[in-house]
Symmetry: C2
Subunit: 490 residues, 2 copies
């Protein structure tokens, strides 16, 4: 060990071989082997057992490169392969090769995107990507923010909406403000309530609007709720519509909601974290008709477009509101006597100070595939969802929860032992236990990962969500066959 073994600087003689070895290991085990169909999605161990297998407690003494390669190997071995075609457990999946390359470059450059002087390329790149995304959404003079996930992006939108109508709250707090209320459907993402609590508005001042059978917000109920809240002295200021709900994948009727927002002068926010990517597809983007009437839109390229996590964008029609709401003018960072045009220093627009360059991975994917590539990607996913639906319906043990509108295909697996018992009073209770049981079986086998959940009064059901455009019809048949295997004896 030389005298600079602890130094935070790379040294080719000391670290060159190690970094090459890490890269080879990562490419071989995580990127390629980890995404091959013949290999498991997960090598399951219960928490206590995995804790024993890994030695996670930080130590006093340094480790050798050989020991580090060993723990990296173990970390890869026991991690879930979220890029595996048989991982369809969340609203993210894939390891996009270009997105991954973009991450690696960003990591090595380790920028923080708050001033042009520190992050010249990424500052300009963010502006170019945000401009293009604003254009696609329909905000000709809009601006945007890269956020640490959709939850904070929704929270930021709520803060901007509040600022538009009650700018004094920034300085004075909510003490003197009326009782502000925002509206979202009962199937909205839970971050709406979480962020309402964080912002001091209170969870119960998120008024939940009823959904129709397909999980879409009912605009008539929305209007009646706005009137009701106003009548009891509340101050409606915002509606959060969802374009692609988490479980059902429903698209709220944006034009009708926009009409209500216009009529009652409410900020119209669309949480398109999940559904936003569909804008790349001329064939399918009609689902987002009316998006151009929004005041703000959350769109996460790390979901439908399979960018690596995280890449979450809040687009806003009114750039001047972002600036006025967030500006703090810290003089140690945003000096006004700089020698270049400080309008390129984006940091004062943000709630964060230090901030990763989440733009590059997405920009590089866009460069690699072009808009055309994303269009093919989205169309392939929609085609896959359509195939899933058809294939499900041809099998006796699968039952759709509802006609799918999007990538989400929700279904019950009704095992042989429950067939024909639909009329029995405890059928739902029994069905509720099937998905958790099958989930356990698939995890322990490691053959695939599909999520399940209850919704309102419905018993647990599975949700297929394929964002990996490498998933084929054959893969879908594999999923269904495997579910039939797992459920056969239940």
């Amino acid at each position: 060990m030389g005298e600079d073994w602890f130094c935070s600087v790379p040294n080719e003689a000391l670290h060159g071989e190690f970094l090459h070895d890490v890269m080879e290991l990562v490419l071989k085990e995580a990127v390629f082997a980890g995404t091959q169909r013949k290999n498991p999605v997960v090598r399951w161990h219960d928490p206590d057992h995995l804790c024993d297998l890994l030695n996670l407690t930080p130590a006093e003494k340094p480790a050798t490169h050989a020991e580090l390669l060993r723990v990296i190997h173990d970390t890869i071995t026991f991690s879930v392969k979220t890029g595996h075609p048989y991982f369809i457990n969340q609203l993210f999946s894939s390891v996009d090769p270009y997105g991954l390359a973009g991450q690696w470059v960003t990591d090595a450059l380790n920028p923080s995107v708050y001033t042009y002087e520190v992050a010249p390329v990424f500052t300009l790149m963010e502006a170019a990507v945000l401009e293009e995304m604003c254009h696609m959404v329909g905000f000709p003079f809009g601006d945007g923010l890269f956020c640490p996930g959709g939850s904070f992006a929704n929270g930021t939108a709520i803060n901007l909406a509040r600022f538009k109508y009650f700018p004094d709250i920034k300085r004075d707090g909510l003490g003197c403000a009326p009782k502000l209320v925002l509206f979202a459907s009962e199937d909205c993402h839970y971050s709406v309530q979480k962020m309402a609590a964080l912002l001091g508005l209170g969870e119960q001042n998120v008024c939940l609007v009823q959904t129709d059978k397909a999980g879409r917000m009912d605009p008539l109920h929305l209007e009646s709720q706005v009137q009701r809240i106003t009548a009891i002295g509340g101050a409606p200021f915002m509606v959060v519509a969802t374009a692609g709900t988490t479980v059902l994948g429903a698209f709220d009727p944006l034009p009708a909601i926009a009409d209500v927002c216009t009529k009652y002068k409410l900020w119209f926010h669309v949480d398109a974290a999940w559904g936003g990517g569909i804008l790349f597809s001329p064939m399918h983007r009609h689902k987002l008709t009316g998006l151009d009437r929004a005041d703000s839109v959350v769109w996460n390229p790390h979901k439908l477009l399979a960018a690596p996590q995280q890449c979450s964008v809040l687009l806003v029609r009114h750039p001047e509101i972002i600036k006025a709401c967030h500006a703090c003018n810290a003089t140690y960072l945003f000096q006004k006597d700089k020698f270049y045009d400080v309008s390129f220093d984006s940091g004062d627009k943000y709630l964060q100070c230090g901030r990763k360059a989440d733009v590059f991975k997405f920009w590089l994917m866009w460069k690699a595939k072009g808009s055309l590539g994303f269009e093919h990607h989205v169309n392939a996913l929609m085609d896959c969802a359509s195939y899933i639906k058809t294939a499900l319906q041809q099998r006796p043990h699968f039952k759709l929860v509802l006609e799918p509108e999007f990538i989400n295909v929700c279904f019950w697996y009704v095992p042989p032992s429950l067939q024909g018992l639909q009329e029995q009073p405890d059928f739902n209770e029994k069905l509720h236990k099937v998905a958790p049981h099958m989930k356990e079986l698939m995890m322990r086998k490691g053959t695939m990962m599909i999520s399940y959940q209850p919704l309102q009064n419905l018993p647990n059901f599975f949700r297929f969500v394929v964002q990996n455009s490498g998933v084929t019809h054959q893969d879908v048949d594999y999923f269904l066959d495997e579910l039939d295997h797992l459920g056969a004896d239940l």
Copy 2:
């Protein structure tokens, strides 16, 4: 182009060579060449010119691998090398080789740390690292959260403090609450006000406490402000002390502030984003005496310890408050009928939903160097700061702003033309323009990056902050020589 050119799945035949080429390019240009002293820190271009050099607008058509390697090369070329020993512009620097390796692994696995089932290794790793950090801080039964930067970490602490005293605000909002006031020094990080605004408390309800000459909060003034606010009907609930202020590197007197918090029953939060890493050094950690009396602590390993961005941790003495304040129990993610112990599912503790595994890079650095390595790292930085101070004082044109207490060494460069003119009425006005001018010269030459800023009534001064333990005394001499060159003709 094969038929799966747009797919979000890595394919060794299609992408193997490209990914290898990217890695070689990144290692050669960004990691090694980018941190060599003979190479520039930045190749400066004004924004408009750089925009012309790069073709940043997303296109319709895909690009070839050769074109992508070209744009990656350009991105590296024109980015600031924040890992270069001559980059001391921010409270982050370095490209730690182990931290970088950790990032690369994390990127390839692309986890989201909300449930054990999706991120088994990283869930356990977070718990192990948080436990050790809590132990170091002095929270024997504490817990913590990995946050997207210090600003949100401070905001989260404010939310927890508010919840402790006024739990109903989560549900009902601030409407019925008294006028809540928190206290922080006038040199606190700007995120305290920004987050107070976001949380609906209002910027002006952050009561700024005076600092002494060294930039440390005056606890007598704190107590008098608490009494004053109470007398005018405000409700004090929290004090934010800073351990390592942004500009001066001052450490607020934690024991005296803790006494005030105890006496008036206030939540005691310490923003040790910058200074926290000093806990690894038995020689220097006395600066943090009293930290163990805090209710919460922000500590960013991506600052002093040179972990890659972002790695920001909020540690909390009261784990039950985190859970109660943040829980939302979304049933699609945190099902209670899982087959493993769901107490390992950490997601419901968080404000975020999807969340990167920021733990691994730090864990791997800790593994690689041991606590001993971090101790050497911190001691080397403190030694370097001490050398900077001594070397500065031996040169006629350098003048310390104040006796440095930490890594931050703040100084004016008084060029030959201003020597001996200290008594003239426009001296400060002229001195104020020196640092911006020298900054422009160094950026255009690309030889180094040091930040400057005004503070309260002081004219612009430079701030040396070295977190790169590879920076030698010779490097310090280089900085000072170069400043003498740049300032000679001013």
